[in-house]
């Protein structure tokens, strides 16, 4: 019973780190994978989600509803951002990077000016579950389950729905997609909106674990970008999954022994080494394996 509990505890550690990386990166992945835009305001969108959650929670809204509210609010904001600014930078990768960075400055500084240096914290919801000598937070168990659920939902969205089909077509060849009647403008707006909403949702989910301040997005930016870079753009969903797993395998033991910061440094070093060996990211390697299975002729 003891070793079983220890085993579960170890898996739990890996899973929480993996879920953290995955959820931090989710919004970024959707936008990068579908539109080839790197959204440097990602951290600030997460911040907006956390702010929405905090404001709503302290008005008595139950936590799960706060998270959904955050998804909607930030998603709407994302749609507005796309319509006004981001759409002018399609095809201009580096330009999009720079302009979203400008937006992130405005958002974080604006939050500081409007709301002050801190927003009231949200206590971690749910209690804990015991197993042997270990106790596991119900909150984190839910977050882990949610991260898997979200990835599965995203996968279905893009591979099993008409919207997903149209989005993939628009991504591969926008002109051709338009010629076939796909409303690419709407697809881009919805995709950016979805990515923003997911960032807001993740921000709300993580709100109970961090102090809610204007620059809180920063702590997610580094892990999120590392996850995306290692995952690669070939197939962002498998890439994100594979990347979270791999990086969690690096971060968990190192973070456990040397502390959280060294864990994140280890992530960067791992990312540098991984991209040296697999420049197109993990998803490209996975894709090659899958293709090898499907060989014909």
């Amino acid at each position: 019973m003891d070793s079983f509990a220890t085993g579960v505890s170890i898996i739990y550690q890996f899973a929480t780190n993996g879920a953290f990386l995955l959820l931090s990166a989710l919004g970024l992945i959707v936008i990068l994978g579908m539109m080839n835009i790197i959204n440097l305001a990602h951290g600030e969108l997460m911040m907006m989600g956390a702010y929405t959650a905090s404001i709503a929670w302290h008005r008595g809204v139950p936590f799960w509803l706060c998270a959904i509210l955050a998804f909607l609010v930030v998603g709407l904001f994302g749609a507005a951002l796309e319509r006004t600014i981001v759409r002018r930078f399609y095809g201009r990768e580096l330009g999009a990077l720079v302009v979203t960075w400008g937006i992130s400055l405005i958002l974080s500084q604006g939050a500081l000016m409007v709301f002050g240096p801190f927003l009231p914290a949200i206590p971690i919801p749910g209690g804990s579950v015991g197993l042997g000598q270990y106790s596991f937070s119900v909150y984190w168990l839910t977050v882990i389950a949610l991260s898997f659920g979200l990835i599965a939902a995203l996968w279905s969205l893009y591979n099993r729905t008409t919207f997903g089909l149209q989005a993939r077509a628009a991504m591969q060849n926008a002109a051709m997609a338009r010629a076939l009647g796909v409303n690419t403008e709407r697809i881009y707006m919805l995709t950016f909106s979805l990515g923003a909403g997911l960032a807001g949702f993740s921000g709300a989910l993580f709100a109970p674990t961090v102090s809610i301040a204007p620059f809180m997005g920063q702590q997610f930016v580094a892990p999120a970008f590392i996850t995306v870079v290692v995952g690669g753009a070939t197939n962002v969903i498998t890439g994100a999954l594979g990347s979270s797993v791999l990086l969690s395998l690096v971060k968990t033991p190192i973070g456990f022994v040397f502390g959280a910061f060294v864990g994140t440094v280890a992530l960067l070093l791992a990312a540098l080494i991984i991209i040296r060996l697999m420049p197109d990211g993990i998803s490209a390697v996975i894709q090659r394996q899958v293709d090898r299975r499907n060989r014909f002729a």
């Binding site: 894709q287 090659r288 293709d291 060989r295 014909f296 002729a297």
Partner: protein, 240 residues
């Protein structure tokens, strides 16, 4: 020297489940003007990418002037005497003609062929390109833009050049002009391998033709042998 200037052994490459190149072994003797033809999607451009090092093969080897260059990055092969133009024109469109040509003249190759300078000057003159022109390259007419890329490659003084559909989009006269320049360059010692679709062009310039189909070498021979080949006609008409 009996060693071919360019040789491959059982070259193979696949992408995402598609076999682009399959067991390709070709031999290009020094001084030849070879045309590579084949239906679209046959793997001709992939073959060029493998030859110059943009892609690493999954299997097989590439030999340049007798040396195994399979593991060498692209720039090292260029320094050993290889040149390549791309299917979609890749001269520096935003830069001026002068900048395009001067970007190249800096490479010092130890074994630059003695005729290289003369070949380059000949091409400039026959292509009507002014190496000091400040005109942005993108304002050149299409055929001259193609010629500009060829001239850039010649400026480096290669021993063998790979040209990927150089006459695409050209008129009949421009195609003839291109063919004439290539034949002259070849007579001056430059080995040329051209991927082309234009039958008249191939007839005009080719000494030998390699037919590629579905990633494999389908047939090889002189122009007459190939045009008489019944199977070649069939693959072009989609019957094989």
């Amino acid at each position: 020297m009996s060693e071919p200037i360019l040789r491959t052994e059982e070259l193979a490459k696949r992408f995402d489940g598609v076999v682009a190149t399959n067991d390709v072994s070709i031999n290009v003797p020094r001084g030849e003007l070879r045309c590579i033809i084949g239906p679209n999607g046959a793997g001709k451009s992939t073959l060029f990418s493998l030859l110059c090092g943009i892609y690493r093969p999954d299997a097989g080897r590439v030999f340049l002037k007798g040396e195994d260059v399979t593991r060498q990055p692209a720039f090292r092969r260029v320094r050993r005497g290889l040149g390549l133009t791309f299917q979609t024109n890749r001269a520096f469109h935003r830069l001026t003609v002068r900048q395009n040509l001067h970007a190249v003249l800096q490479i010092a190759r130890e074994d630059r062929p003695p005729d290289a300078e003369e070949r380059y000057r000949f091409a400039l003159e026959r292509f009507a390109l002014d190496p000091d022109s400040e005109m942005p390259a993108k304002e050149l007419p299409h055929h001259q833009l193609q010629w500009l890329e060829i001239a850039m490659v010649l400026a480096a003084g290669p021993d063998v050049v790979l040209l990927d559909e150089p006459t695409a989009g050209m008129s009949i006269d421009e195609t003839l002009q291109t063919g004439a320049v290539l034949k002259h360059l070849n007579a001056r010692g430059l080995t040329i391998v051209v991927v082309e679709h234009d039958v008249a062009f191939v007839r005009d310039v080719a000494q030998r033709v390699t037919v590629v189909h579905q990633g494999r070498v389908f047939a090889e021979g002189t122009v007459d042998e190939i045009t008489a080949h019944a199977d070649v006609r069939r693959i072009y008409l989609g019957q094989a």
